[in-house]
Every structure is written in structure tokens, then in C-alpha cells.
């Protein structure tokens, strides 16, 4: 058997030099006259070990990382094709603690298989869910998804099955499945990893959604900042179509479902579902008022399921192993697993899929290993640019939709950004307002104008101009934005701002006092 060498082509691995490593391996194989197949897999998500090269041996896969191009020669000298020891040797990848501690349901194949090999996908359990779905009545598929407890992984946490039921129950000649792959939140990369590392699972999830609701057409709206994900998804859709996974007869059944990949154009707000629908229709990405719900009048006015990548990619395992299997993981009303993305100033950054319920402290200190800089953790922002900053004092908060809400936070798309003690929380609060001003679609006045006024008022606080009065003004402004904006951009910008003010009041003292206090 020809040896197989796995070198990730995931964007994160590429950003750390995986392409140069692949080229160096290719060159070395040629020079040594050794035959081997280089597979460009996705990433397993342990970015502190990327580029992580793996070889398939008789005893299973052996990983090496982080591999530099200059390591390649010595890897061959150490007999790495047979799993030989080397300073970059990591052993069996599934025994690496960061990976061994995970529960991988949605990301079961990511980083393991060749993303564009449908055979490889099938041999790792792919398409089982879709095979089951084509033999079921739509209402039964919907009730499976409802029973699994799956909630929208984009951030809102709305029960997926209920959304699907509304679309199923709404009569129309044309319905749509829209996948929200406009993953604009800082600290999140789960959608990107799935699209680059296991694109067929998303296609399968969308096909199941189509069959369940009577929708025959799907769109994946991918942000333009993800060119590699766009390329992989386009290739995967063509392969799936050719293999009859998509088309007039999905897996030979009477169900029709096909899909297209669409690319966004750099507007953060298009991650909001109604803006996204407008953008897909070729309009300005302005937020729509709800009702009508997209499930009743969505894309082109038709009933539309709009779900995040991870929600849709979690459906195949539910349809394969059953609702009870999935529901068995998690806590409270947060069922199943969640791919937590640990990012920013952190030692062991990456994707960690686990059942709901770990505490924030366990995630940051134990799994993440503390900061990359080695300094103390000051704050973590959970849920992207619209998420709250949590201080160490709240590290006992369990990772669960309701528990975070109780502490004036949100888990959002489950991204966590770690900051060390050099962070200035007033600056972070100001940035939240600035970001809102840059990205506001302009529909709601509190968001469009309030964000700019917020920046100005915080600048006054920083300059020591009537700090107390101006902080009260920011608080009042945040209240107006929260209740006076249609979508989460204006509505949630107060989370990072108010959490900074509440938990880190010392950073909002006017400059002279701060100096005097030190």
C-alpha cells in the first residue's frame, strides 16, 4: 500500500505555512524516489499544533506538529512514514489531550478525511442520515430534529425543529433552505472549518432540511473573507450533484434538492438572517422587520429555513444515530454538543467540540492553557463582537444558553476571545461602538447614530470630561440601542460596552485619577 501523508489545507493551517510544508514533502519524496500520496485534509482544530502533518501507518495515524518546512528533511530521516520518533512527534492524534477530551459529533470527520472524497465521507458514516431521511415522512424528520433539542448554533439558540415545522406547515410551490455561512464574529471559525474540512456534512444536512420541509432549492451564503471555503464548497456541490446526492432524485428517491454557493461582499450585518436574505436577493443588506418570519415569508417572499452552518451540519448525526443519542449530551435546555472556539491571546487555541456544561474557567484555563503571553487572564469575550466581556469572577459560569443569559452574556456562535492584563477595557468598549458604527446597515436610528455618539461619549470619559455624567449617558444610550434596534447589531452592542463598564470600572476612571491610583 502506498503511504498516505496528511497535510491540512484548512485556512488556519495554510496561514501557518501548511502549503510550504506540503511542497517540501513533495520535493523530498521526489528526491528520495519514495512513493506516497499526499492528502490535503481539513484541520482537527488544534491550531497550536498546526501545521500538523499525519501519516497513516499499520498502527493507525501518527501526527507531527507544528511542522516547519525546515523540519521535513529530518522527518524523512527519522522514518516518519512509519511513525518514527522526531522532535515534532505527537503520537496518535486522537490521544493528544486537546483532541482526546472532546466529544466530536458534528466535527467527527473534520481533519480526518479527504474533504472532497465522497467515498471517504461515506466510509466514515456519511450519508447515513440522508439515507434514513429519504425513507421517512417529512413530519417525522422534523420531529426527530425537534426531539434532539438542537438549537440554532448561529447564536440565537432558537429550536431548529420548530423553525422547520413552520416551513413544513406553510403551503407554497417554492420553499428554500438558506445556510448562513456569513461567519463574521471575531473568535469564530467553526463554520469555516466544516466547509473546508467536511463540506459534505453541510450538503447532507441541507438536503435533509429540504426533504423535511418540502424545499427543493438551497443556498449557502459564504462571506467573501473565506475564499478557501467558497472553493471547497463549490467543488463539493459539483461532486455531490454528479453522485446523485443532489439533483432531481436525491439518493434515487423522488425528492428533488439542489443548491448553490453564493458569496457575500464584506458586510458584517449580512450575518443577520433577514439582511442575508436581502443580500441574496441582490439588495442592500438591510435588516427586515419581523414578522413576517422568514419561515413564512423569507427568500423572495417564500417560506425559508435559514440556519447556521453548524446547525445544519449537526442534523446528519441526529438522523443517523437518532434524537435521543444527540439529546443525551448537554445540560438543561442546551442539548447536544457545541464547538467552542478558543481564540485570541491563548496558549492552546482552536476548536473544542464538547457537550454543553463546561465552565468558562475550565475552557479558558484548563483547555486553553491560559494566555499565550503568559500574563494573567483579564477578560474573555464570549460570543463575538456583540458578546459580553467576562471577568475571572464569572469563570464559574457553565457553557449553556440560559446560564450565560442569566449573567448578562450570551454564548453566540461559541467563540471565546482571551485577553491578558494589558487589555484596556475602555478601549474595548469604544471599539464595540466603533465596529457597530462601521457595520450598521442604517435602518434603525439607535444603531446608526447611537454607535457614533457612543464613541464620542466614551472619548469624553477617556479624556476625563465629566466622567460620571458621561458614563450615565452611555448607560442610557445602551438601553436605547438595546430596545430600539431591530437586530442584534444595534441590540447587542451594549453587551460588550456595559459588561466592560460593570466588570472593569477601574478602566473607566478618568486618566488623571488612574495615574494617581497607580
Amino acid at each position: 500500500m502506498i503511504p498516505r501523508i496528511y497535510v491540512p489545507a484548512d485556512s488556519g493551517a495554510l496561514a501557518l505555512g501548511a502549503e510550504k510544508v506540503a511542497k517540501a514533502i513533495e520535493k523530498e519524496l521526489k528526491e528520495r524516489g519514495v512513493e506516497a500520496k499526499i492528502v490535503r485534509n481539513g484541520s482537527r482544530g488544534a491550531y497550536f499544533l498546526e501545521p500538523m502533518v499525519e501519516v497513516a501507518t499499520a498502527e493507525g495515524r501518527v501526527a507531527y506538529g507544528p511542522v516547519k518546512p525546515s523540519d521535513v528533511k529530518s522527518l524523512f530521516d527519522s522514518g516518519f512514514l512509519k511513525g518514527g520518533h522526531h522532535k515534532r512527534w505527537l503520537g496518535a492524534p486522537d490521544k493528544i489531550p486537546f483532541l482526546a477530551k472532546q466529544t466530536r459529533l458534528t466535527f467527527a470527520r473534520c481533519g480526518i478525511i479527504d474533504p472532497l472524497s465522497l467515498d471517504s465521507y461515506k466510509s466514515h458514516g456519511g450519508l447515513n442520515g440522508l439515507h434514513n431521511a429519504v425513507a421517512m415522512a417529512p413530519a417525522d424528520i422534523v420531529s426527530q430534529v425537534t426531539e434532539s433539542g438542537l438549537r440554532g448554533r448561529g447564536g440565537a439558540g432558537f429550536p431548529t425543529g420548530i423553525k422547520w415545522k413552520t416551513v413544513l406547515d406553510t403551503k407554497s410551490d417554492q420553499k428554500y433552505i438558506v445556510c448562513n455561512a456569513d461567519e463574521g464574529d471575531s473568535a469564530t471559525f467553526a463554520d469555516r472549518m466544516i466547509m473546508e474540512g467536511d463540506p459534505f456534512v453541510l450538503i447532507e444536512g441541507m438536503a435533509i432540511a429540504g426533504i423535511a420541509t418540502g424545499a427543493t432549492k438551497g443556498f449557502v451564503y459564504i462571506r467573501s473573507e473565506y475564499p478557501h471555503a467558497v472553493a471547497t464548497m463549490n467543488k463539493a456541490v459539483a461532486i455531490a450533484r454528479k453522485a446523485g446526492v443532489l439533483g432531481a432524485n436525491v439518493l434515487g428517491s423522488p425528492n428533488a434538492f439542489d443548491m448553490e454557493i453564493r458569496v457575500g461582499a464584506g458586510a458584517y450585518v449580512c450575518g443577520e438572517e433577514t439582511s442575508l436574505l436581502n443580500s441574496l436577493e441582490g439588495k442592500r443588506g438591510v435588516v427586515r422587520a419581523k414578522p413576517p418570519l422568514p419561515a413564512i415569508q423569507g427568500l423572495f417572499g417564500q417560506p425559508t429555513v435559514i440556519n447556521n452552518v453548524i446547525s445544519l451540519a449537526s442534523v446528519p448525526i441526529i438522523m443517523d444515530k437518532g434524537a435521543a443519542y444527540y439529546k443525551d449530551f448537554g445540560m438543561g435546555r442546551s442539548r447536544g454538543t457545541i464547538p467552542i472556539q478558543i481564540a485570541g491571546n491563548v496558549k492552546h487555541g482552536g476548536l473544542f467540540e464538547t457537550a454543553f456544561g463546561l465552565t468558562l474557567g475550565e475552557i479558558v484555563d484548563e483547555i486553553g492553557g491560559g494566555t499565550a503571553s503568559g500574563r494573567p487572564v483579564k477578560a474573555v469575550q464570549v460570543g463575538g463582537p456583540l458578546g459580553a466581556y467576562f471577568p475571572r469572577a464569572l469563570f464559574d459560569t457553565p457553557f449553556d444558553y440560559e446560564e450565560f443569559a442569566k449573567r448578562d452574556g450570551l454564548i453566540g456562535h461559541a467563540g471565546i476571545t482571551v485577553f491578558d492584563d494589558t487589555a484596556d477595557m475602555m478601549k474595548q468598549a469604544r471599539f464595540a461602538m466603533e465596529f457597530c458604527a462601521i457595520e450598521s446597515c442604517g435602518k434603525c436610528t439607535p444603531c446608526r447614530i447611537g454607535s457614533t455618539r457612543g464613541m464620542e461619549v466614551l472619548d469624553k470619559v477617556a479624556a476625563g470630561i465629566e466622567a460620571e455624567k458621561n458614563l450615565a449617558l452611555v448607560t442610557d444610550l445602551c438601553n436605547t440601542m438595546k430596545f430600539g434596534s431591530l437586530c442584534a447589531l444595534g441590540g447587542f452592542t451594549p453587551y460588550p460596552v456595559m459588561s466592560s463598564i460593570t466588570h472593569f470600572p477601574e478602566d473607566f476612571k478618568p486618566a488623571p485619577t488612574r495615574v494617581a491610583a497607580e
Partner: protein
């Protein structure tokens, strides 16, 4: 500055692109992306042609083009360098990275070097948040920017 195509050429290429893509459901964004691919920006002269082809008003097309950060009114430099300035990168010093790059290139964000070599832009997240600070140079991703990588990038865009 790169040579600007004549407006008649813009109109005929635009008409061809509109014709090719107008059968799509919601064809405007795919058309604008294709135009930017073709010309390096979305030329003003293309807008009436699009409006005509899709039965929209010019104002509607203008509104869409100007809404999205990606669509340029002017061609960019030969290289486009995007530096991530979002929170995860901030936590790893993206502000200092940006200051250094701006100083080395002699331009600010949203500016193009006078020799047309490079356009510098901020970007709010490249999804490389566990490899911060990150950048994208002509579509290629670069993570864990340090002084050495910054100097490599600057040398590349200047060459």
C-alpha cells in the same frame, strides 16, 4: 495608475456578464463580483448597463454597490493587503502590527501607495482567530504575524 478601459468596452463587457448571470435567482451580487473580478473595481459606467439588464433603477444599483465594503469604485493597487483588526487579533497586538505596516508602507488604511503597488485595508475577521494576528495578502492567508513576517510582506508588495 493602471490603464482604464474605455467606457464602451466597459459597457459591452458588462452587458455580456449581465446576460450570462441574469438567469440566476438574485443575480446582482454575482454580477458585481464578476465585474470586480474583470475590472478590479465596479466602474461607474457599468451601473446603467446593469440597471437596464435587470430592470432596476440606477439608484437601486448604486445603493447596492455602495452598501458593501468589498466593491471598489476605483481600482486597487497591484497587491491588496488586509490586516485583521477584530477582537481576537486585538488581543494579540494587531494594533501595533497595523501601525508598523502603515509606517513601512507609508500609507494609512483605505489608501493605495503612490506607486500603485499596494492597497491597505482593515478587515474584521478572517476566521484565523486561533492564529492571531492575521492578514490576507492577495487572497492568501497569513497567521501569527511578527516582525519577520511583516517585513517579508512589505518586501513582497514592493517587489
Amino acid at each position: 495608475m493602471p490603464m482604464q478601459p474605455a467606457s464602451t468596452e466597459i459597457a459591452s463587457r458588462t452587458a455580456a456578464i449581465v446576460n450570462e448571470l441574469k438567469g440566476l435567482e438574485g443575480p446582482l451580487l454575482p454580477i458585481l463580483h464578476e465585474l470586480q473580478e474583470e475590472f478590479g473595481h465596479v466602474p461607474q459606467a457599468a451601473l446603467p448597463v446593469i440597471a437596464d439588464g435587470l430592470n432596476l433603477s440606477r439608484a437601486e444599483v448604486h445603493g447596492v454597490v455602495t452598501f458593501y465594503h468589498d466593491f471598489r469604485a476605483q481600482p486597487a493597487g497591484r497587491h491588496v493587503l488586509k490586516l485583521c483588526q477584530a477582537e481576537a487579533c486585538q488581543s494579540m497586538g494587531s494594533e501595533a502590527v497595523a501601525a508598523k505596516v502603515k509606517q513601512l508602507l507609508g500609507i494609512d488604511f483605505h489608501e493605495t501607495a503612490r506607486d500603485g503597488s499596494v492597497t491597505l485595508e482593515p478587515v474584521y475577521c478572517l476566521g484565523l482567530c486561533a492564529c492571531s494576528p492575521s492578514a490576507m495578502l492577495d487572497g492568501e492567508v497569513i497567521g501569527r504575524l511578527d516582525d519577520e513576517k511583516i517585513e517579508e510582506i512589505v518586501a513582497e508588495v514592493r517587489s
